[in-house]
Subunit: 241 residues, 2 copies
Amino acid sequence: MPKSIYEDIYKDLKQKIENNTFAYQELLPPENSLIQTYGCSRNTLRRAVGLLVNDGYVQTMQGKGVRNIYQPCEQTAFTIGEIETFTESAVRNGQQAFTRVALFTELQLNKKQAAMTGFPENAEVYYIQRIHYLDDVPLIINHNYFLKEAVPGLTKEIAEHSIYQYLENTLHMTIVNSKRIMTVEKVTEIDEKYLALNIKDYNCVAVVSSQTYNSDGVMFEYTQSRHRPDHFRFYDNAVRK
Amino acid sequence: MPKSIYEDIYKDLKQKIENNTFAYQELLPPENSLIQTYGCSRNTLRRAVGLLVNDGYVQTMQGKGVRNIYQPCEQTAFTIGEIETFTESAVRNGQQAFTRVALFTELQLNKKQAAMTGFPENAEVYYIQRIHYLDDVPLIINHNYFLKEAVPGLTKEIAEHSIYQYLENTLHMTIVNSKRIMTVEKVTEIDEKYLALNIKDYNCVAVVSSQTYNSDGVMFEYTQSRHRPDHFRFYDNAVRK
DNA sequence: GCCGATTTGTCCGTATGTATC
DNA sequence: CGATACATACGGACAAATCGG
């Protein structure tokens, strides 16, 4: 099912840019020309271009045109920057992903845990520890907290496969946005144990803490992802307002 | 000089949200109501709201309304997430900022440097090392590369004060966007020397590498910022497309 | 379960402003 | 100065989701 025109145009232009249809620093065809090409209105085309601007793919210049500033990234390791599953990301990069569940429990949050996660005190959650392997190397240990109320029927078997597939396909939940904070922390015993980090080497991990909301506006997940520092990259494009 | 209506509305709503005019999880007034309030068109209002969605301040729900999902952040330390000067950020957080220039040179990039920065080979640049102090604690060491062609007349004196003020006020350059990559790296001798990092403590730094473009579409700056890991936070909000 | 009212989502056409060439 | 190209803003039409009676 086709979703929307502006989205289709966005994807088409994005792909053209990634395929080097336009050289780096080259101007894209002007709005009027693209409107002709896609047979859409000006607003619709501009909306698609706006998404490319947010992605850091192009830059619009009043009076001049739209410049391609996309450069393919070196892409050595794991990538973030969107809401994307570990498995999705691995597949995209042509790598072999595997997930192991180290702990699957249910608990009621105490005050400290509530403050950390952003859930209300005494909230009932699933607490899951999972280790993500890429090409047989343990890269990430995830501490997942899922609100039971919003994610009923979660099991260890689902956690071993794909929680997000369960959320979207079975529970028909829609993930909308995810607030993240990136920090660097000392390795813990758990990190050492599961990530096989040698203390002599790195004594830190990259930590991504995220609060994820569904389309009902409820925060249903808090996750702390602890990454091996040597396989961690976080992309971002900031646009001056 | 007033810039644009949607921007004004965006700022006004943003401030209202930050000031807790609406409770967490509360619905904002519906579009039609806000259109009345601001006396603008629907498109204009929706544009303002769209910016708030990108910021992770609100969530729109078709058929229901616009929900406030803003939660004030704990705000212990240094903050990124926008294009913002070190000094700007410090002032915003009510802290005392100071910048020391450790090195100010000009150089022509070799192949390796060109690959790292994204500038063309043999490009002429200013290479500057600066240490940023917050409340007398050295937090960041910056390795700045500025394209001489685009940033003429840079001096050590300017670097000690504020390069961005020089760019915007004197050269009348407009900064548009900045692509960033966050990684974690081992501390170097330079890091240890200037950041006073004890090797026994953390042996890593948080590294933000950024390529910054001006309104002419030219990348005029490459900077590698190396942060003390214990004072580093990187905020982000990802929206599902 | 249906229907209508409310509310957000998408799309179009047009007018005007501003920067560049 | 005129032509080109992007930026802002308005108004209208219809679709889709939600909610209450």
